[in-house]
């Protein structure tokens, strides 16, 4: 089993963003069912945390701006770790994210196993 980062990116800036606040509201149940499904397979590494959308961005020369990362259309909207055999299985799980249909993107990254 490997650990994978599931990072959900979505537009947190634009007024006409998709998913919209209403769509996010209606996604609460499917989102929880998705997490519940991953957890029921014992593939959740730790209880997911909820992240605020406030954020700060730190750049060269200690320049700090208010986040989220405004120069990209898509900011980080949520992230958690799962267990999966390989990319194929992790991607299969990621496809269950109910925000995809509204234009959110799920980034899947495998943690490099520690050197034996």
């Amino acid at each position: 089993m490997n650990e994978f980062l599931i990072a959900i990116h979505r537009d947190l800036i634009n007024k006409d963003a998709s998913p919209s606040p209403e769509q996010m509201q209606s996604a609460i149940k499917p989102f929880q069912d998705w997490l519940g499904s991953i957890a029921a397979q014992d593939k959740l590494v730790a209880p997911p945390k909820r992240w605020d959308t406030d954020g700060r961005v730190v750049k060269q020369n200690n320049a700090v701006t208010n986040g989220p990362y405004a120069e990209l259309k898509e900011s980080l909207g949520g992230l958690f770790l799962i267990r999966a055999k390989d990319y194929e299985e992790a991607v299969e799980i990621a496809k269950g994210c109910p925000l995809l249909k509204w234009g959110a993107t799920v980034e899947v990254r495998m943690a490099i196993p520690p050197a034996q």
């Binding site: 929880q32 069912d33 519940g36 499904s37 957890a39 029921a40």
Partner: protein
């Protein structure tokens, strides 16, 4: 009350109190001395009461005799006195004046200190439960053996090893400080939870014994709630959970001692008083920001006290299981979540989700699949129940699965 019942009843309620108070006074390394004194006291009661009749106030009689026996013991046993921890001598100038305080407050304090001492030690959880039953619930070795479905020798050895370890660790028995409570309360609650589960899910057919285990776990939880320092949200949540579960005690076993599945239970047999208590403690638990697994399980148990199948009921149960599993995985929670999913989102989605669980050595897994396939593909359902039957070990489980198979065969 006849003496035949009186002494065993007093033994059950008073033995543990006096032992706790004496251990609190002497320290855990003199646990055997405390037990000997209390056993002697009950022996004296049996002898005296059969000759002189029952005293007017049997409990007061026991307390007086226990106090005197302790004082005599201390006087006779100078060696013990020298070895006795300095703390006792700090509080009292001589053994003559040793105050053996059997007031309600000191009994409660002593028992609370004892719970924390038993749960703090490095002994195995199994031994902690046996020790809690013995020292805190006044269970005899035979009763503990019956509860664990094993023989007296095993329990005798288990208890002695545990007590030996307590002595060696020179564990202090004292009022836990606030920071100790924070550190150790999770372990204490786990032990109480397991003690309750031992009674609730035990394979033992002795329903009286099983109920006693559950009620003892509830009594000890109340002891924590009665103490200001340990009256915390998670303790109240655990107690609510126990109330909701035990409200179904009468309904979950039929007159032949066979278990009755939830959806077949007669809700007239559910204990409304315990349900109301559960709601009260769940409200008490709803302070602070911390949602523990006891909160979630109590919430699930609360919805199960409503017999009627509503969308709200199963959606709530599903979401509580979703949260519970994110907090802590267990196969049984995964299976129950999938059952709730079938009720909330339909069988088609639940079958897909169930196939992902792959709990192939768990008979409940195949029973769940059998249940989900029933009315969708009865041949498939039958084969799933047959797999469940192969894996089931207890007579009660086999009976439940056989009943399901019989029903399906009648349909086919």
């Amino acid at each position: 009350m006849e003496q035949q019942e009186l002494i065993p009843n007093l033994f059950r309620t008073e033995y543990r109190k006096i032992v706790s108070v004496l251990c609190y006074l002497f320290g855990m390394d003199h646990i055997e001395t405390a037990e000997d004194i209390v056993s002697d006291t009950f022996l004296a009661a049996t002898e005296s009461w059969s000759v002189n009749g029952n005293p007017e106030n049997p409990t007061a009689w026991l307390y007086t005799v226990a106090k005197n026996k302790t004082k005599n013991y201390l006087k006779r046993n100078t060696l013990f006195e020298q070895k006795l921890s300095k703390e006792i001598q700090l509080n009292t100038s001589s053994t003559e004046e040793i105050e053996i305080d059997l007031s309600v407050k000191n009994i409660n304090d002593s028992q609370l200190a004892m719970i924390f001492a038993v749960c703090e030690s490095s002994i195995s959880t199994e031994s902690q439960i046996a020790l809690a039953l013995n020292l805190l619930c006044g269970f005899g070795i035979q009763e503990i053996a019956d509860a664990f479905l094993t023989n007296k020798e095993v329990i005798y050895k288990r208890l002695n090893r545990a007590k030996e370890k307590l002595r060696k660790e020179k564990l202090k028995i004292q009022q836990p400080t606030l920071s100790q409570i924070e550190d150790r309360l999770p372990t204490v609650l786990t032990t109480l939870y397991l003690l309750f589960s031992e009674g609730y899910y035990s394979v033992s057919h002795d329903t009286v014994l099983r109920k006693n285990l559950c009620f003892e776990a509830m009594r000890l939880t109340i002891l924590l709630i009665d103490n200001e320092k340990t009256n915390l949200p998670d303790v109240n949540a655990l107690h609510a959970l126990m109330c909701f579960h035990s409200s179904r005690f009468e309904a979950r076993v039929n007159e032949n001692g066979e278990s009755v599945l939830y959806h077949q239970q007669n809700e007239m047999l559910w204990d409304q008083k315990l349900i109301d208590d559960g709601i009260h403690y769940l409200n008490q638990a709803s302070t602070g920001n911390n949602v523990t697994k006891y909160h979630l399980e109590a919430g699930i148990a609360f919805w199960h006290t409503k017999k009627e199948d509503t969308v709200e009921k199963w959606e709530s149960i599903l979401q509580l299981y979703n949260q519970l599993l994110q907090l802590e995985y267990s196969p049984i929670a995964a299976l129950n979540r999938t059952f709730a999913l079938s009720k909330a989102n339909g069988k088609k989605e639940a079958i897909e989700e169930a196939e992902k669980l792959q709990l192939v050595d768990n008979h409940f897994y195949y029973s769940l699949l059998g249940n989900l396939y029933t009315d969708i593909d009865n041949h498939k359902a039958l084969s799933q129940f047959e797999l469940a039957l192969e894996l089931a070990t207890t007579a009660a489980d086999k009976k439940t699965i056989s009943n399901a198979i019989q029903k399906l065969q009648d349909l086919l």
